[in-house]
């Protein structure tokens, strides 16, 4: 965006999700809404540098986007506006103020939620959902999305176009959602944003392990969502979780770009202000007395965050939290993590007992065997560890994982001699 006032650009980026969301409801089309927003931005870039940034950029852009579209379709008035907003000129300060007062905040927040929800269309693959959200809501360029998701730009473009059509065709009720509908939409949207975060946090494909811009964008979306729905404790919990996880970004990569495990990280590189913010948001969320999976995971992350050194970690607290998480989210990863916490408190042989009780459910899970193997090494059973590592090898590890497992096998075999 060379040559463009960066302050104006920042205001445009900040207003984008709300403006596109409101225009999507008015035009019933993502394509038209995006186009109208673009035209509104063009008008803003002409006006704002001279007249100053309006007091309510969102309202200004919304009116400008509508007017631009109306101008274009003057002779072809198929568009129906059903929001009762007056057609207004945006030249005068007063007109803009009037419009700002006509924008219903409650309606706007459901617009943003609806737009995010449209991006989670169940017929779209996960990657297409993320691509669509990045394009429509965050305003990423196709090239940037292709780079971030490790897809060729050409095919990314086609996929986004198709995804946009599918999402637009989705029969999303345009009236105010019921409480249940709103809760269901918030759930789906939180899942999508967390997947976006994880796509950046443990980037698969390509040659880097962390794609910070995806994590940043997920955090921005969560801030937006929380700003619109300030009483949603799981949104708060998810923002807390992402902030604390992302606070470790500089410590998670070693000099060669390899991932550094939590216990070996240089904790001075953690971004303390972000951990503090996550901690506060979590405390605030827990006041509501409805702990869900995101709040519990945030509590686990916060417990790690409080430990200045790895050996100061409050493992009993972490084990209790994983136990709570197992109740609301009984998955293999959670059970394995709980076993790791058990090993830290009661030693590797107690953790092995714990794992044996899970073998029926997790026998086909790669990390069950690698975790078990490392406990077997700790309890001085390299022979059995080799068996477990070999089992892990048969379950389709990635290239890097295969390499790591083979190193471990070599280590075990050396110890057996």
């Amino acid at each position: 965006m060379a040559g463009i006032d960066s302050g104006v650009a920042a205001h445009l980026a900040l207003a984008r999700p709300k403006v596109v969301a409101a225009l999507t409801r008015q035009f019933r089309s993502l394509e038209n809404a995006e186009e109208a927003f673009q035209e509104a931005c063009v008008r803003a870039l002409v006006r704002w540098p001279d007249s100053g940034v309006p007091r309510d950029p969102t309202a200004w852009l919304l009116v400008a986007g509508r007017n631009a579209t109306l101008d274009r379709l003057r002779k072809d008035r198929r568009l129906v506006f059903d929001d009762g907003l007056a057609e207004a000129e945006v030249s005068g300060d007063d007109a803009e103020q009037d419009i700002a007062e006509q924008i219903d905040m409650a309606e706007l927040r459901d617009d943003v939620l609806r737009l995010l929800f449209m991006c989670c269309h169940p017929d779209l693959s996960l990657q297409d959902q993320l691509a669509l959200a990045l394009k429509v809501i965050a305003g990423f360029s196709v090239e940037k999305i292709a780079r971030a998701l490790v897809v060729r730009p050409k095919s990314m473009e086609q996929r986004i176009t198709r995804a946009k059509k599918k999402a637009s065709a989705m029969a999303v009720r345009l009236e105010t959602p019921s409480l249940q509908e709103r809760t269901a939409r918030l759930d789906a949207v939180c899942t999508m944003i967390y997947l976006l975060f994880n796509e950046g946090y443990s980037a698969g494909g390509g040659d880097v392990h962390i794609r910070g811009e995806l994590c940043d964008e997920a955090i921005r979306l969560l801030r937006l969502l929380l700003n619109l729905f300030p009483a949603q404790s799981e949104v708060m919990g998810l923002l807390a979780l992402c902030l604390i996880q992302h606070s470790r970004r500089d410590a998670r990569l070693g000099p060669d770009g390899d991932l550094v495990p939590l216990e070996s990280q240089d904790r001075r590189k953690w971004h303390r202000a972000e951990i503090s913010e996550g901690q506060v948001l979590l405390e605030k969320a827990l006041r509501r007395g409805r702990p869900g999976p995101y709040q519990i995971q945030a509590a686990i992350a916060a417990t790690h965050g409080r430990a200045r050194r790895a050996d100061e970690t409050d493992w009993p607290e972490i084990e209790r939290l994983y136990e709570a998480l197992e109740h609301v989210q009984p998955t293999a990863v959670v059970s394995l993590n709980r076993a790791v916490a058990v090993s830290k408190i009661q030693g590797a042989s107690a953790a092995l007992d714990h794992l044996d009780r899970l073998s029926g459910d997790l026998g086909n899970y790669l990390y069950f065997h690698t975790t078990r193997a490392s406990f077997l090494m700790e309890t001085d059973r390299p022979d059995l560890a080799v068996v477990a590592f070999r089992q892990a090898l048969s379950l389709g590890p990635t290239g890097q994982e295969t390499e790591h497992i083979q190193q471990q096998i070599a280590l075990c075999e050396a110890r057996q001699k």
Binding site: S6, G7, A9, A10, H11, A13, L14, R55, D56, M105, R220, R223, L224, L226, N227, P230, A231, M236, L239, H271, R272, A273, S276, E277, V280, L281, K284, R287
Partner: protein
């Protein structure tokens, strides 16, 4: 006399600026803090977290309500503040003018009473 400089802007705006502009703006903050510190005129300086982390306590009838966030739906939020010693309001205005312009509005407000001495919070920002 003591003054507060209250910093107002839209939440999330600063974060959207190019990194080098953010860094330039922070440099201006650091320069002012250094200058005021050398003169012994800096009482406190704080960057506030997002209003999403805030709560409001308000009495309604006989009960005390604890509500999420600040009440007012304003476009700009209080994002941070300085407490400083100045010779005059003109001097206070001059200090506020040294802060990065265009990224926030600065309210210069005389302090009626001030007390307290806290340690720095657990954070890396300066």
């Amino acid at each position: 006399m003591q003054y507060a400089i209250l910093i107002y802007a839209s939440e999330g705006f600063f974060d959207r600026l190019p990194e080098e502009e953010q860094e330039n703006a922070l440099d201006q903050h650091r320069a002012l803090q250094k200058d005021l510190n050398e003169k012994g005129a800096l009482g406190a300086v704080a960057k506030l977290m997002d209003t999403s982390a805030a709560m409001t306590i308000r009495k309604k009838g006989d009960s005390l309500l604890v509500l999420d966030g600040p009440f007012a739906e304003t476009k700009e939020q209080l994002l941070g503040l300085y407490l400083l010693e100045c010779d005059s309001i003109d001097d206070a205005i001059e200090q506020a003018k040294k802060l990065p312009q265009g990224v926030a509005a600065y309210e210069v407000r005389p302090i009626g009473w001030m007390g307290g001495a806290l340690e720095k919070p657990d954070s890396e920002t300066d």
